[in-house]
């Protein structure tokens, strides 16, 4: 059993990740198109997409580079967009922390929005999985997502500006985030966290460097955790 279940977990990871290919591909295409339009050459475009694998921050960097912002402003803003991934890392640590160092290095490199969201959901829903099954599931989610991301960026860079904006490709990105969010709203605490996050993001939208994103994320986490604590206490009371 212990020899077959990681295989099963790997296959489930691949299957769960496949629908997100519809999302990763347009996002990658958009990055490729925008990078070439901004003035990067093919090697720089592919270098960025392979080394960073984080669409939102790559697009943030490109946007600021088009405006000829100072190098440190480009870096600070693009990295600020990725600070949410520290929370992804922290969130996966209890599940994947016991893995060997070299595996954690590869997992960290491929810890993107989709592999994180799918894996975190899997690990929460199946708390009795072995470490080998969890690692296999994570690799499964990365198997279609990472090559498709890199391939789509390449295709986008090749076709350049040939994709007309009225196709609404750019809006596939928020639709993808919402498609992850909707099924994750399982309890009143999840809904409360999401609501607090939106309110804070709107109120602080004027803050520079995506600081609103980090503050809204923290506010959402605190609200969600507090609602959970109160619900649990109410359940425990006679």
């Amino acid at each position: 059993m212990s020899t077959t279940s990681p295989k099963t977990a790997y296959r489930r990871g691949v299957l769960n990740a496949l629908p997100f290919s519809f999302v990763v591909v347009p996002f990658g295409l958009i990055f490729g198109v925008v990078a070439i339009e901004a003035g990067l050459d093919m090697v720089q475009t592919m270098g960025m997409t392979i080394l960073v694998i984080a669409g939102a921050s790559q697009l943030t960097a490109l946007q600021l580079m088009t405006e000829n912002a100072p190098v440190w402003v480009v870096l600070a803003s693009a990295l600020a967009v990725n600070l949410r991934m520290a929370m992804y890392s922290a969130s996966l640590a209890p599940f994947l922390g016991p893995a060997p160092l070299w595996q954690r290095i590869f997992i960290a490199y491929m810890n993107v929005d989709q592999t994180y969201a799918l894996s975190n959901q899997e690990f929460e829903e199946r708390p009795n999985q072995t470490l080998a099954e969890r690692i296999a599931f994570f690799w499964g989610t990365a198997t279609p997502i990472i090559p498709l991301w890199i391939g789509a960026s390449y295709l986008g860079a090749l076709v350049g500006a040939a994709i007309p904006p009225e196709y609404g490709l750019d809006f596939a990105v928020p639709i993808a985030f919402l498609a992850i969010l909707g099924p994750a709203l399982r309890t009143v605490a999840h809904v409360g966290a999401a609501f607090a996050s939106v309110v804070v993001a709107v109120l602080l939208a004027g803050l520079p460097w995506n600081l609103w994103l980090l503050i809204a994320g923290l506010a959402g986490m605190i609200v969600g955790a507090e609602i959970e604590r109160r619900v649990d206490r109410a359940k425990a009371a006679p």
Binding site: N68, E124, A225
Partner: protein, 109 residues
């Protein structure tokens, strides 16, 4: 864009290494040490706390080449969220969202 090739590669390299270190942070530092219950309780809400904050400005921003928010996009976002919440299935959520976006876009012309 007025950057030298060296500056562009500096941006790419620092962004790549910095992003990796952010992703590695807790996975690398903590290893197999268990986290406190209150930390775990907060971490359970990372996804539902970060995603709405990321998505809100993207929905409310005017589409490329436009100068005001697009009601069709807001409707498509609502459809995706509702379908995802009700079916608990990301594929239906994406189909509802992109279907609403393209369908209403076609109706309005």
């Amino acid at each position: 864009m007025n950057y030298s090739s060296g500056e562009i590669w500096l941006i790419i390299a620092v962004l790549g290494v910095g992003t990796f270190l952010i992703r590695f942070s807790f996975l690398g530092l903590i290893g197999d040490r268990p986290l406190a219950p209150w930390v775990l309780r907060h971490l359970r809400y990372t996804a539902v706390a970060i995603l709405p904050a990321m998505v809100t400005p993207l929905i409310l921003a005017p589409p490329p080449g436009d100068d005001s928010a697009d009601p069709i996009r807001i409707a498509a976002a609502g459809a995706a969220l509702a379908a995802g919440y009700l079916t608990k299935n990301a594929i239906w959520a994406m189909a509802a969202g992109m279907g609403t976006l393209l369908g209403l876009g076609w109706l309005v012309g």
